[in-house]
């Protein structure tokens, strides 16, 4: 390991490449296994957010819909911080 790299790592500025490899693979394998292309995933993400927004006000900056994988099972994980419920959602939707 080069001294520069060692120092970078010591200062917490750079992850070791082995760790990086695992993290990158976790993401790549989740996508490979789901067989969803990035456009479809993005479209699904937008539609999910639209539906959820009808009921609750969510933080779009923080909101995240992604694929995660563990033990060969891939899950669609949505992490959507709620600001507040929309008053309209308290009554049944009319349409």
């Amino acid at each position: 390991m080069a001294l520069f790299e060692f120092l970078q790592r010591l200062l917490g500025r750079q992850k070791p490449s082995g760790t990086l490899a695992k993290e990158r693979l976790q993401l790549v394998l989740a996508h490979d296994r789901s067989d969803l292309n990035p456009e479809l995933l993005e479209q699904m993400r937008r539609e999910i957010l639209e539906v959820v927004q009808k009921y609750v006000e969510i933080d779009l900056e923080e909101g995240d819909v992604s694929l995660e994988t563990e033990d060969r099972v891939t899950a669609l994980v949505a992490n959507l911080p709620i600001k507040r419920a929309r008053p309209a959602a308290l009554t049944a939707p009319s349409d």
Partner: protein, 289 residues
């Protein structure tokens, strides 16, 4: 190109191709090329033969055959799987017996042009024919996930996926595992090859746990990077043949014993403190993978 010659009766009759129920037909595959499939097939073949198992190694890599080279049998090939399928030779004529280890025989790959007409059914026929004379049939699979892979996969019951701890190898292994799963091939076990303990210790290479986590397969063996592998290839004598005590040789022997159902503890060299004692034990050949 058409398949040359008519098939022998035994090959055409689907009932004749019913598998010998006692032989285990194991595919050795990886997706990516150059990760150690052929080396594992040759060494594992010898190691199983030494355990008294009648073993046939079947070269399914018709495009880039070299299982014969690794076994030092390249000058003894007369017939191949091609003549066997065409019915122009008998099974015993096509099988090349290993001189020093008579429990092991090679079924050589035919001409690369066979790829143009070979079908999964053909591979199944060849594998089932050699299975009649064997306890173990190891199929050396070509790289890739195309027809050559599909042919070989159609012929097996179970699989060993081999990979190195590198990004592209692991990703390709995952693709292959998905395909094997979809064909109901079971069990699928993992061999991790060319591990460099020092790089893992520095976290500059994925660890054993990283790779088994990602691929979610049981680990059948762990082979470290070992120069002796190249030396043995040069000689055409697999490391397992002559009681070589190198780390890779021990690892291949252990894979054979685990395949037989023996409980052989898996010692992870990347976890061991590289202290004087450990290095000494290693030198004395008292640690094994």
């Amino acid at each position: 190109m058409r398949r040359p010659g008519p098939l022998a009766l035994t090959c055409c009759d689907p009932l004749a191709a019913v598998t010998n129920a006692t032989a285990r037909i194991i595919l050795i595959c990886s997706g990516k090329g150059g990760v150690g499939k052929t080396t594992l097939t040759a060494n594992l073949g010898i190691a199983l033969a030494q355990l008294g198992q009648r073993t046939v190694v079947l070269d399914a890599d018709f495009g880039l055959r070299n299982l014969d080279l690794l076994l030092g049998l390249e000058n003894r090939i007369i017939y191949t799987a091609q003549e066997l399928l065409a019915g122009s030779c008998r099974l015993e004529q096509a099988l090349v017996k290993h001189k020093q280890q008579p429990n092991l025989a090679l079924m050589p790959a035919g001409n690369p042009r066979m790829l143009e007409w070979l079908t999964p059914e053909d591979m199944r026929t060849v594998a089932n024919l050699v299975a009649e004379r064997a306890d173990y049939v190891l199929i050396d699979c070509p790289a890739g996930v195309e027809q050559g892979f599909k042919n070989a996969a159609a012929a097996c019951h179970e699989a060993i996926v081999i990979t190195t701890p590198e990004m592209s190898a692991v990703r390709d292994a995952d693709r292959v595992i998905g395909l094997l799963n979809s064909q109901g091939i079971q069990p699928i076990q993992l061999v991790l090859n060319r591990v460099r303990p020092r790089m893992v210790a520095n976290q500059e290479m994925m660890s054993v746990a990283d790779v088994t986590d990602l691929l979610a397969l049981p680990l059948l063996g762990l082979v470290v990077e070992d120069e002796q592998v190249i030396v043995s290839t040069n000689r055409g004598e697999p490391l397992t043949l002559n009681g070589n005590g190198s780390p890779a040789a021990r690892a291949y022997h252990n894979v054979a014993r685990r395949l037989r159902g023996e409980q052989v503890p898996l010692h992870d060299p990347t976890r061991e403190r590289r202290g004087l004692r450990a290095r000494l034990l290693n030198k004395l050949g008292m640690a094994g993978n």
